[in-house]
C-alpha cells in the first residue's frame, strides 16, 4: 500500500514542491500544515506514516513540535528538513527520535532517496 505523508512547512511554495515530488513517486500526501497548532490538529485526523517537518516554523520551537509529534504518533517516521548550516539542530532532532533528515535544496532524488531509506 502506498505510504501516507504529511508535509509541515510554513511556505506554501515549499509544500507544493514537496507534494509534487512525492505524488510523482506514488506517495499519498494526506495533509499539509503551516503551523504547530495546525500540525497537531491534522496529525490526529490523518495519522500519516511519514511526517516531513521543516525545522524553522514561526509559531513554535521546531524541536518542541518534533517531540509532540513523536509522543502523539510514535509509530510514524518523522523526517526533518533543514538548510545547510543547521547541523546541530539536526543532531538534536535525531537524538529526540527523528528517523532521518533532508538538507535543502530539495531535489526529487534526495527527497525520495531519504524516504525510501526509511523502509516500508
Amino acid at each position: 500500500m502506498n505510504q501516507t505523508v504529511m508535509i509541515v512547512d510554513d511556505s506554501f511554495f515549499m509544500r507544493n514542491i514537496l507534494r509534487g515530488m512525492l505524488e510523482e513517486k506514488g506517495y499519498v500526501v494526506v495533509a499539509e500544515a503551516a503551523s504547530a497548532i495546525e500540525t497537531m490538529k491534522k496529525l490526529h485526523t490523518h495519522k500519516p506514516d511519514i511526517i516531513l517537518l521543516d525545522i524553522i516554523l514561526p509559531d513554535s520551537s521546531s524541536l518542541d513540535l518534533l517531540q509532540s509529534i513523536i509522543e502523539a504518533l510514535p509509530e510514524s517516521s518523522v523526517v526533518v528538513c533543514s538548510a545547510i548550516g543547521q547541523e546541530l539542530v539536526i543532531q538534536r532532532a535525531l537524538e529526540l527520535g527523528a528517523k532521518a533528515f533532508i538538507q535543502k535544496p530539495f531535489t526529487p532524488e534526495k527527497v525520495i532517496g531519504v524516504l525510501e531509506s526509511l523502509g516500508g
Binding site: 511556505s11 525545522i55 524541536l63 547541523e87 535543502k104 535544496p105
Partner: protein, 537 residues
C-alpha cells in the same frame, strides 16, 4: 520533474518575504533591537534561501545566505544593527527583489550581485561588543524559544486572482444598471401602472447588494500602498542627516483600488515634502527646544462613507507671512488680496501651479510636480485637500476621499442651462437666502453663516454664464460647500435633490474644463456635469 510550474508561486512568496523583511528592518531601527523581530528577519532570509536553492536560483541563494548569516550575527549580539548595516541589508533586499523580478520576467539567468555580496559578507562593525567571542551559530533557533506568533496567511484555494480590468468592467456594468433603474422608475411613473412598484423595489435592493459586492471586491487595505512608506521616509531622512520616524495608523482600512492608485504618488509627494522642507535637522530641532528625533504620523480613519488620510509632522511648519510675500512677489495675487487672505487660504497657495517656497530646491523634492498636482489628483477622485500649519510647530495635510470612486452620492442642482452634481462629501448644507443678505465689500460678496463671513459665488458666473440677480424678495437657493478646506457658498437656480450617480471621466477637450471633473447620465438621459467645488470657488 520540471520546476517551471512553481515559478509564479516562488515569485509571489519571495516578494512576501522581501516586503516583510524591508518593513522589519525599518521597524527594528526605529524601535531598537528586540529578539522577536530579529528572529523574524532571520526567518525571512532563511526561507528565501531555501526556496531559491530548491529552484536552483543560485545568485538569490547566495545573497540570501549572506543576509541570513549577518542576521545570525545580529541575533547573537556580535553585530548591532547600525544604520550602515541597515542600509546594506535594505540594499540587499532591493537587489533580491530585482532578482525575483528577473525570475518573474522569465529570464534565463539571474545577474549575480558579487560586489554587494562581498560588501555585506565583509561587513564588520566599527565597535564590536567585547565579550561576544562565540562563533556565529546557526543552530540557536533550536535553543531560543521564539515568541508565539500568528502564522502567515497561507494562500488558499478559497481565493482566486482576477484581472483588474474585469473588476472595472463589473463596476461599469453595475453603474449602467443603476442608471437604468432610474430610467425604469421614470417610465413607470409616466405609464402610471402601479404594478411596477414591487419589482422595482426588489430591483433596487438587489442592485444595492450587487454594487456593495462589486465594490468590496475592489477594496484593498491602505497598507497596499503604505507598506513602502517607512522605508521611503527612512532613506530620505538618512540622506539628509535628519532623524525621523514615521508612524502609520489605520493601515488595514480598505479603499477602492482606483483611489489607492490615485493617491499613492500624492502621498509620496507630501511625505517627501515633510522630510525635505517640513523637518529640521537634529541640531535645529534641539535649538528650537524639540526632541532631535522628528515625527511624521500618517493616520487613516474611516468616517461614514469617506476616508480621511492625515499626514502630520512636528517640523518647522509654514510661515503665513513668508507665503504671502512669495505669492505677491510671484504675481499670483495682489498685495490687497494677500492682506485679505486667511492663513488657511495662504497655506492653500502652495497648491498653486508653479508656487514653490523652498529656498533651495534639493534633489529630493525636485518639484516638477508639486502640491498643485497633489490637489488635482485628490479633486479628480472626488476628494478634498486641506492644509493646516503652525509656524514652528508643524503642518498637517488632510485628504478627505470617497471610499469608492465610480458611484457617489451627489446633490443635483440646476443653474442656467446646466445640471450640475456636487459630490455630497463636499456639500455641508443647503439653504435659501435673500439677495439683501449678501454683503459686498471690495467687489467680494459674502454672507454671514454661523457668525463668520463666507464668500458667495454665483454658480452661473463661475461657469461663465450670465448671472441675473433676482429681486430682493425672492429666495435664492444656495449650497454651502467645502472648497480646499475653507467654506464657500454657491448660488444656484434650483436644488433638485440627492441621487446616487455613476461617475464617468470626461474625454478631451471637455476634461480641460475648469470646475468640472466628470459627468454622469441621469435616468431620463440628461448629461449632468460633476462640479469640483474647490476650483469653482
Amino acid at each position: 520533474m520540471g520546476m517551471s510550474q512553481y515559478r509564479d508561486l516562488f515569485v509571489s512568496e519571495a516578494r512576501g518575504h522581501l516586503s516583510l523583511f524591508n518593513e522589519l528592518i525599518v521597524q527594528l531601527e526605529d524601535a531598537g533591537g528586540d529578539n522577536v523581530t530579529i528572529d523574524e528577519l532571520f526567518r525571512h532570509a532563511h526561507s528565501l534561501k531555501g526556496m531559491a536553492a530548491t529552484m536552483g536560483y543560485d545568485p538569490i541563494t547566495a545573497l540570501a545566505h549572506v543576509v541570513e548569516d549577518q542576521m545570525t550575527r545580529v541575533r547573537s549580539g556580535e553585530l548591532s544593527l547600525t544604520p550602515t548595516l541597515a542600509d546594506l541589508l535594505l540594499e540587499s533586499a532591493d537587489t533580491l527583489s530585482e532578482m525575483v523580478s528577473q525570475v518573474e520576467s522569465g529570464s534565463e539567468s539571474i545577474k549575480e550581485a558579487t560586489p554587494l555580496l562581498e560588501r555585506l559578507s565583509l561587513f564588520s562593525p566599527e565597535t564590536k561588543k567585547g565579550e561576544s567571542q562565540e562563533k556565529p551559530d546557526a543552530n540557536s533557533s533550536g535553543q531560543q524559544p521564539s515568541a508565539p506568533h500568528s502564522f502567515r496567511q497561507a494562500d488558499s484555494f478559497k481565493s482566486i486572482r482576477i484581472r483588474t480590468e474585469t473588476l472595472d468592467r463589473l463596476v461599469n456594468i453595475t453603474g449602467e444598471l443603476i442608471t437604468n433603474r432610474y430610467r425604469l422608475v421614470d417610465c413607470s411613473k409616466q405609464s402610471g401602472v402601479v404594478d411596477f412598484d414591487n419589482p422595482i423595489q426588489q430591483l433596487t435592493g438587489l442592485l444595492r447588494d450587487l454594487r456593495d459586492e462589486v465594490f468590496k471586491a475592489r477594496m484593498l487595505p491602505f497598507d497596499f500602498i503604505a507598506e513602502r512608506f517607512p522605508r521611503l521616509v527612512r532613506d530620505l531622512a538618512r540622506k539628509q542627516g535628519k532623524e525621523i520616524s514615521l508612524h502609520l495608523a489605520g493601515r488595514d482600512i480598505e479603499l477602492d483600488r482606483g483611489i489607492l492608485e490615485g493617491i499613492a504618488e500624492p502621498l509620496v509627494h507630501i511625505l517627501r515634502n515633510a522630510v525635505d522642507h517640513g523637518m529640521e535637522t537634529p541640531d535645529e530641532r534641539v535649538a528650537a527646544g524639540k526632541p532631535s528625533n522628528g515625527e511624521i504620523t500618517l493616520t487613516v480613519t474611516r468616517v461614514k462613507d469617506h476616508v480621511d488620510i492625515v499626514i502630520e509632522d512636528d517640523g518647522c511648519g509654514m510661515d503665513p507671512g513668508h507665503l504671502k510675500a512669495k505669492a505677491v512677489e510671484k504675481g499670483v495675487i495682489s498685495p490687497e488680496q494677500a492682506d485679505a487672505m486667511t492663513p488657511q487660504e495662504l497655506f492653500m497657495m502652495v497648491c498653486t501651479p508653479g508656487f514653490s517656497t523652498a529656498e533651495t530646491v534639493s534633489d529630493v523634492s525636485g518639484r516638477g510636480v508639486g502640491m498643485d498636482a497633489v490637489r488635482t489628483a485628490v479633486h479628480s477622485l472626488g476628494g478634498v485637500l486641506a492644509i493646516q500649519s503652525k509656524f514652528g510647530l508643524g503642518s498637517r495635510f488632510t485628504m478627505r476621499l470617497p471610499i469608492t470612486v465610480s458611484i457617489i452620492n451627489a446633490l443635483l442642482v440646476k443653474t442656467g442651462t446646466f445640471d450640475i452634481a456636487f459630490p455630497i462629501n463636499s456639500v455641508k448644507r443647503t439653504f435659501e437666502l435673500k439677495s439683501s443678505e449678501i454683503i459686498e465689500e471690495n467687489k467680494q460678496q459674502s454672507i454671514l453663516v454661523e457668525e463668520s463671513y463666507v464668500p458667495v459665488r454665483s454658480l452661473n458666473s463661475a461657469l461663465g454664464q450670465s448671472f441675473k440677480p433676482d429681486s430682493d424678495l425672492t429666495l435664492i437657493p444656495a449650497i454651502l460647500c467645502e472648497a480646499g478646506g475653507s467654506p464657500v457658498v454657491f448660488l444656484v437656480d434650483r436644488v433638485c435633490g440627492q441621487q446616487e450617480i455613476f461617475v464617468r471621466p470626461l474625454g478631451l477637450p471637455l476634461s480641460r474644463l475648469r470646475g468640472i471633473n466628470g459627468a454622469t447620465v441621469t435616468g431620463d438621459g440628461r448629461v449632468v456635469f460633476i462640479a469640483d467645488a474647490a476650483s469653482l470657488a
